[in-house]
């Protein structure tokens, strides 16, 4: 039991940034995102025996997405200027990435956050989103194109 906790603590420490970044992008809020990430890790801890191997990060990110959906049913996440992932000393580039992500629709943002941000495969993202693989691929394509257009200035700089 103690060994389990220690190992799990190491996994949390290693992947907390990825899961928090994903959750912040989904909720467009630092505090709400961190709450989702924390809930996701606790769910992962309780259901650790159901983890069948593979990418731990992908598994927890999928749980975080489910936590986000479950939490969203009961409330509306409100992005504020003071509490978004790009606030607090962030560079202009990161601030614009945040704004560009906020301009995507929910499915595009989730697919981009899962695939490009958290590094899930299209198939893993489709499983997490409970959506057809083809839909996820097209959300990623459309979202990527919109991000590329919005962020073109930074590539030129």
């Amino acid at each position: 039991m103690a060994g389990d906790q220690k190992a799990f603590g190491q996994l949390v420490a290693r992947h907390q940034a990825s899961v928090r970044a994903l959750s912040r992008r989904l909720t467009r809020s630092v505090s709400d995102g961190d709450d989702i990430a924390q809930a996701a890790f606790l769910t992962a801890w309780r259901r650790r025996s159901s983890w069948r191997g593979g990418s731990f990060r992908g598994w927890v990110c999928a749980i975080a997405y489910r936590e986000f959906l479950a939490t969203r049913k009961g409330r509306v996440f409100e992005a504020s200027e003071d509490d978004h992932p790009g606030a607090a000393g962030e560079t202009g580039e990161r601030l614009d990435l945040t704004r560009a992500l906020a301009a995507l629709d929910d499915n595009e943002r989730a697919a981009i956050a899962l695939c490009l941000g958290a590094g899930l495969s299209h198939a893993e993202a489709a499983l997490a989103m409970e959506a057809p693989l083809g839909s996820v691929k097209s959300w990623v394509l459309r979202g990527r194109a919109k991000l590329q257009k919005a962020l073109a200035a930074y590539e030129r700089a």
Binding site: Q5, F8, G9, V12, A13, Q16, A17, S18, R20, A21, D34, A37, Q38, F41, L42, W45, R46, R47, S49, S50, P85, G86, E90, T91, E93, R94, L97, T98, L116, G117, R144, L147, Q148, K149, L151, A152, Y154, E155, R156
Partner: protein, 127 residues
């Protein structure tokens, strides 16, 4: 006539490719410090397990203890559960008609209760 999509080639000609976007996402992720997050998660994980363990195993031991007490005819020392037990006993007798005074029946009931609590404990740990 070109068969390219209307917006192709994209305006400006220079846009961040996958590498550019990946770099931006990685930079955003790298800026997130642990700042006690892991400690908070592990503290909650530890606490949630402790409460669950006490509730589940406490209930299991109480049930098992009641069953054992029944086997050894210690029922008079337990809290009165006559109404509850009587109703359940009548329902059982209406079905398979077991004899509650038969030690074999009590042993089977105790084993069934133990199995049920063990299953409950396993299920609760999975949730």
């Amino acid at each position: 006539m070109s068969n390219q999509p209307p917006e192709w080639p994209p305006e400006g000609g220079e846009q961040p490719g996958d590498d550019g976007l990946a770099r931006m996402f990685a930079a955003e992720e790298a800026a997130i410090r642990d700042d006690g997050f892991t400690a908070r998660v592990m503290e909650q994980a530890h606490n949630s397990f402790g409460v669950r363990r006490v509730v589940v195993y406490g209930a299991g031991m109480a049930g098992f203890g009641a069953a054992v007490a029944g086997i050894f005819d210690m029922a008079p020392y337990l809290p009165a559960m006559t109404g509850w037990w009587g109703g359940m006993s009548n329902a059982l007798q209406a079905g398979a008609a077991p004899d509650p005074s038969n030690p074999a029946f009590l042993i089977v009931a105790a084993l069934a209760a133990g199995a049920a609590f063990f299953t409950l404990a396993l299920v609760a740990q999975e949730r």
